[in-house]
C-alpha cells in the first residue's frame, strides 16, 4: 500500500504532520537535516495520536548525575499525553525501552511528491 501524502515543501524541517496511507493514520516527521520518516500515528502506550506531540531533542544518557547533554534536536518525537520519547532516526524506538517502537513505513519520492508505503 502506498500513498502520496504531501509535497516536500509542505512539511518544513523540524515539523510533523498527520496523514493516511490507505486507511492507516500515520505521522510524517521531517528532521532538521531535511530527511522524512513515517510511523503509525499511535503511541504504543495508550494510543495517543503522535502527530499531536512535539518534535524535540533529549538529554543523552550520562554517567554523571546533574549533567544534561541535550542532543538529537528535532529527532525525538514525544507523545502528546505522557511524553514518552521515540527516536525517529532509530526506527521509532522508545528511548526508555528500545524493544518497543512505533510502526515503521517506507518513505520515497517522485519529483516533489512524498510517498509513504507500508513495509514489505
Amino acid at each position: 500500500m502506498k500513498e502520496v501524502v504531501c509535497k516536500k515543501e509542505e512539511l518544513s524541517p523540524g515539523n510533523i504532520m498527520s496523514a493516511n496511507v490507505g486507511p492507516i493514520p500515520i505521522v510524517l516527521c521531517r528532521t532538521p537535516d531535511g530527511e522524512f520518516y513515517a510511523f503509525t500515528n499511535k503511541c504504543v502506550h495508550q494510543g495517543a495520536a503522535m502527530s499531536e506531540g512535539v518534535l524535540c531533542g533529549a538529554p543523552a544518557p550520562t554517567d554523571t548525575p546533574g549533567e544534561y547533554n541535550y542532543e538529537k534536536e528535532g529527532e525525538i518525537l514525544r507523545c502528546p499525553w505522557h511524553g514518552i520519547e521515540y527516536d525517529i532516526k532509530n526506527e521509532g524506538r522508545m528511548l526508555v525501552d528500545p524493544n518497543r517502537k512505533l510502526g515503521n513505513f517506507n518513505v520515497s519520492f517522485e519529483a516533489d511528491n512524498v510517498i509513504v508505503s507500508t513495509k514489505q
Binding site: 495508550q46 494510543g47 495517543a48 499531536e52 506531540g53 507523545c79 502528546p80 499525553w81 505522557h82 511524553g83
Partner: protein, 362 residues
C-alpha cells in the same frame, strides 16, 4: 474519532479537571476581593520548583482549546474531545488546582471568597450545562466554620456530589476539621481528596519532578491513615472518602501495614474499633489513574490482595498530561470486574449519581 469500544460499557470518570481563569471568576466575587485581584493581578501562590514535564507541561498537548485558551477551559471542546468521544455516562469535576482555596497558607478570607465564587461559576457554567457532569464543593477548610456554611449553601445542589480537599501539608483527619465531615455526611457528599502541591519529601520538595510524582501515593497514605486513626469513620459512619489520582497499587500493602500497626498499637487510638483494612473496604475508594502498566494477571493479584473488587474506580484525569485512556489504560479484566471499575463502584460511592445506566445524551 470515537472508538467502537465506547458503547460497550458505562463509564463514570472520577477525575475531570475543568479550568477557570481569574478573569472568569471576577463576576462571581464581591469587593474587596474583585478589586484585589484586578488591581494587583493577584494569583494564588504556587510551590513546585519544577514545571510539570509532560510534552506540553501540565496538560495533554492535544487538549489546549483550539482558540488558544488553556485545556479544560471550554465545555464544548471538553464535550467533543472527552465526553462525546469516549461516551461518558458521568464525570466528576475536580477543579484545576488554581485557585485551590483550601491550599492557601494565609488570607483565609480570600480563600473563603474564592471557594464561593468558584462553586457559583462551576454550577452555572458546567453542572447546569451538561447532564453528565457532576461537581465538587470547593471550600476553605482552614476555616471549618466557613467551610460548613459553604457546604450548607451549595451542598444540596443536585449535581454536587463531593467536597474537595486538596492534599498539601495538612492531614485532614484532625478533629479540627471534623465539622466539615459532619456537614458532608449530612448532605450525602463524599469527601474527595486530590493532591495539590504537597511537599512530599520530608516537608520539602525532592530534587526532581520524577521523584515527586513517584512518591505521591505517600501523601495519599498520610491522608487515609489520618482519617482512619483520628476516628473519622467511626464518628461519621456514612461518610465515604475518594482518593483521587494516586492509582491503586499502593493500597494492598498499606492495608496490611495499617492492620499490623493497629494490632500492636490499638491502645493509642481506642476510638478505632476495627481493622483499618475493614474501614478501607467500607469507606475508601481510589482511582485507577495514573495507572501502572499491568498485565491482567498482575492487575488481578492487586485486586485479590485488597480482598475487594469495589475499591478501585476508573478516572481519566482529563485534560492533564498523564491522562488515562478508557480504551487502553487497563488490561482486559472480564465483563463483571470491568463494569465495577468503570462505573458501578463509583455509582455505589456517590449516592447522588443516577442509580442506573442512562442513555448518553449529547
Amino acid at each position: 474519532m470515537a472508538e467502537k469500544k465506547q458503547q460497550k460499557r458505562a463509564i463514570i470518570d472520577m477525575d475531570i479537571h475543568e479550568r477557570v481563569t481569574y478573569d472568569e471568576l471576577l463576576p462571581y466575587l464581591d469587593n474587596p476581593w474583585q478589586r484585589y485581584i484586578k488591581d494587583t493581578n493577584w494569583v494564588q501562590e504556587k510551590h513546585l520548583p519544577y514545571p510539570i514535564l509532560g510534552a506540553a507541561g501540565l496538560d495533554r498537548a492535544d487538549a489546549q482549546v483550539p482558540d488558544g485558551r488553556p485545556a479544560g477551559n471550554d465545555l464544548s471542546f471538553m464535550q467533543q474531545q472527552l465526553l462525546d468521544d469516549v461516551g461518558h455516562e458521568a464525570g466528576i469535576l475536580t477543579g484545576a488546582g488554581d485557585p485551590s482555596p483550601s491550599s492557601m497558607n494565609g488570607w483565609y478570607e480570600m480563600a473563603v471568597a474564592l471557594a464561593t465564587a468558584y462553586n457559583d461559576w462551576q454550577i452555572e457554567n458546567w453542572l447546569e450545562k451538561d447532564d453528565r457532569l457532576y461537581g465538587s464543593v470547593h471550600i476553605a477548610a482552614q476555616d471549618p466554620a466557613s467551610a460548613v456554611r459553604e457546604i450548607e449553601r451549595v451542598g444540596s445542589h443536585p449535581k454536587m456530589v463531593q467536597v474537595l480537599l486538596p492534599i498539601d501539608d495538612r492531614p485532614w483527619g484532625d478533629p479540627y476539621y471534623h465539622p466539615i465531615f459532619e456537614a458532608a455526611e449530612r448532605h450525602n457528599l463524599v469527601i474527595g481528596m486530590h493532591h495539590q502541591e504537597p511537599p512530599n519529601y520530608y516537608g520539602k520538595f525532592p530534587r526532581y519532578f520524577v521523584e515527586w510524582h513517584s512518591v505521591m501515593p505517600n501523601t495519599h497514605m498520610i491522608q487515609v491513615s489520618s482519617m482512619i486513626f483520628n476516628g473519622v469513620f467511626e464518628k461519621y459512619p456514612n461518610l465515604k472518602l475518594a482518593m483521587i489520582e494516586a492509582g491503586f497499587t499502593y493500597i494492598p500493602a498499606f492495608m496490611k501495614k495499617m492492620d499490623q500497626q493497629y494490632k500492636v498499637l490499638r491502645h493509642e487510638v481506642p476510638w478505632v474499633k476495627r481493622m483499618p483494612s475493614s474501614i478501607v473496604k467500607d469507606h475508601v475508594r481510589v482511582t485507577t489513574q495514573p495507572v501502572d502498566e499491568l498485565t491482567r494477571d498482575e492487575f488481578l493479584k492487586f485486586i485479590d490482595l485488597m480482598d475487594s473488587d469495589e475499591i478501585v474506580c476508573f478516572s481519566t484525569d482529563y485534560p492533564h498530561w498523564d491522562y488515562d485512556s478508557p480504551f487502553r489504560a487497563l488490561p482486559p479484566l472480564g465483563e463483571e470486574l470491568e463494569q465495577k471499575i468503570f462505573a458501578e463502584n463509583a455509582r455505589k460511592l456517590y449516592p447522588k449519581l443516577p442509580a442506573r445506566e442512562r442513555k448518553v445524551t449529547q
